[in-house]
Symmetry: C2
Subunit: 438 residues, 2 copies
Amino acid sequence: VFKARMGLGATRSSGRCPCPWQCSLNWITFKGWVRSVRSQKEVLFLHINDGSSLESLQVVADPSLEKRDLTFGSAVEVQGKLVKSPHKMQNMELQAETIHVVGPCDIWSFPLKMKERHPLEYVRQFPHLRCRNNTLGALLRIRSEATASIHSFFQDNGYVHIHTPIITSNDCEGAGELFQIEVSWAKESVEKSHFFNVPAFLTVSGQLHLEVMAGAFTHVFTFGPTFRAENSQSRRHLAEFYMVEAELSFTESLQDIMQVMEDLFKTVTSTVLSKCPRDVELFHKYVAPAQKDRLEQILKHKFMMPLLLSLQWGCDLQTEHEKYLVKHCGEVPVFVVNYPYDLKPFYMRDNEDGPQHTVAAVDLLVPGVGELCGGSLREERLPFLESRLQRYLDLRKFGSVPHGGFGMGFERYLQYILGVDNIKDVIPFPRFSHSCLL
Amino acid sequence: VFKARMGLGATRSSGRCPCPWQCSLNWITFKGWVRSVRSQKEVLFLHINDGSSLESLQVVADPSLEKRDLTFGSAVEVQGKLVKSPHKMQNMELQAETIHVVGPCDIWSFPLKMKERHPLEYVRQFPHLRCRNNTLGALLRIRSEATASIHSFFQDNGYVHIHTPIITSNDCEGAGELFQIEVSWAKESVEKSHFFNVPAFLTVSGQLHLEVMAGAFTHVFTFGPTFRAENSQSRRHLAEFYMVEAELSFTESLQDIMQVMEDLFKTVTSTVLSKCPRDVELFHKYVAPAQKDRLEQILKHKFMMPLLLSLQWGCDLQTEHEKYLVKHCGEVPVFVVNYPYDLKPFYMRDNEDGPQHTVAAVDLLVPGVGELCGGSLREERLPFLESRLQRYLDLRKFGSVPHGGFGMGFERYLQYILGVDNIKDVIPFPRFSHSCLL
């Protein structure tokens, strides 16, 4: 682990040892922030963290090197020799020759305290400092790794990445909960709506734009921010959140869509588990103790599909139903398919199992989080779509193909694999009603 | 090239040949859109493209398989045997046994025509169909590859990826040209500004949020959309565009920042050139014929820095100055450093070469595009920043370190390497004043 950090973190710079023999071996400068100071009679111990991993580097120094501003939270540059540590807790330690305090830390006003396990609710108050907390640090490293892994998954499977637009004049879901965009410098409301000539909104989904692209590249994906102006203080909703969306042409079966969802989940999760073992361990040890074994089980088995769902026809699944279903199946991810026609948007494909009876829709439900992914086959047949948006129809007129796709909420994904209760703790800068800090 | 497509494009499905020996070898189903139909007396030739590469697969069939709706633009599924082609133009061809028109194309109203090289201005009118055009198709594949390569570059160099927020209550550049966000369902203007309790805007830069994160992870980057409400119809500006931004702690020299800019440019460009040779060739052949040799030269040499700049003190560089500089240096990328103090924002580091004389700022200018990257060392010293934003100051109180960073306009990058004149042609769905199509 230590090796990985030394390779990755570019805060290390090697040089020549100032000893008479000028040995260059293991003489380094390490830069980071002090996580602990322990001063003993004969020796001064420091732990320095540079954010490239959860582990800090132990520094051993002569007590004469201690200074007044060498405190918890200060930024330091330490020069010395990297040697094998006699302690079991770490591989290596740094025998310091010089310690330079680059930036002192006002510990009285610094809200993080040495060796304290602050609750997530507490650190959430400090959007500009909470990344210095171990839990948030681990989370953001995992988020970064998961992001890279999502890009690789699709790239490796021949998908073209598309930057779908953030500002749009469409309203994909027909939802009323949109953010509208205006220019800040216009005084009159008439002037305000003149920038784009049409009312413009923040996107709620990249699906329609992906459908355009799937009509040229066959397999496409996007991974970007989406928005809902929901006045909700729920632990599962944000005003700004990230969504992974994929669209596949020449797809005639929901099974194909479900297979991609499952492969995506398993590939990304395996990568995160193997690339960030210590960071993930923090969550599976202190935040959600049972999650580790459950995840490992889930990675080994096929996702489930409930065979029969007894519910009043035409009622949508409520959170309670979702919870029951997932529990009934043994607290594992569950696919629910073929929703009533009237509950779903116009672009979903009619199953033709009766007059406007069900559509080829699928949701992936996971324990603790609820709906993680939602997808469907799209209606590719022109007559089924007539009297709708002209451009959407155009896509069906020039080489229309059966296709489908899905979206996965990235924050919900992180909540689920790490067992984090509140969605505000899995995004760097959460935005929700009444809160837009920084 | 063909092999690459067959490996990547998942539109192929192999099966068993219906011959008496049921040989499985090379029996495939290929799915895509018809790019050309050529019917001869004895044989029917088709070119089918599935968007995974510029090349189409040649299909050879018996004329009896021709149907009325097998036209340019239609979507087809072809089953047959993949064999070595006797023609020089391609490696392989498909001897069709069956051809199924999945989605016909109304060729009379389809704005793209067979074998025609439509100008970029023409296809720009059809945001939902222009990706079916060869040039735009190639561009979007290159954009996807460049995106992946940017993520890899930073990941490989130990940077943590951060999703900096889109909605923010800050105004990084102090610019007036902001988009403001309101909820669409509120009727009163008082109600409208109540969603976040404060006025909220679309981000113009992730820099301040990256600075927060660089104070924990040392090296961080972001790659997302940014916005300007500039009422400009220029070929270099968009209302919504993508920016790559990096921030590095413990950085005391502009040289370090410039090195990252140069490495990023060279690594990503080399990757794009080697991974999308045919797509890039299209641009370097038809769009900007001289660009290929120039790029190859640039990849071999260090970027330049103009030694002396004679200009009236305190004047900012105008487009004409930038052009002259780049030309003077031989049409290569040029770094311009140390701008007058008064021209730059508060967070840039005072060079202390006189009372508020210059700041440690750097711009990277490239031929044809102008400013590609802008960066600076940030002012890490508390006294220099006092009387500014409290949170920004807080970051200097708890372990402040010298740091710096930069941003690169992703569309301008693509414009430059491909020689594309208009920025609207290097983004999937361009947004600019008076235009927000789809």
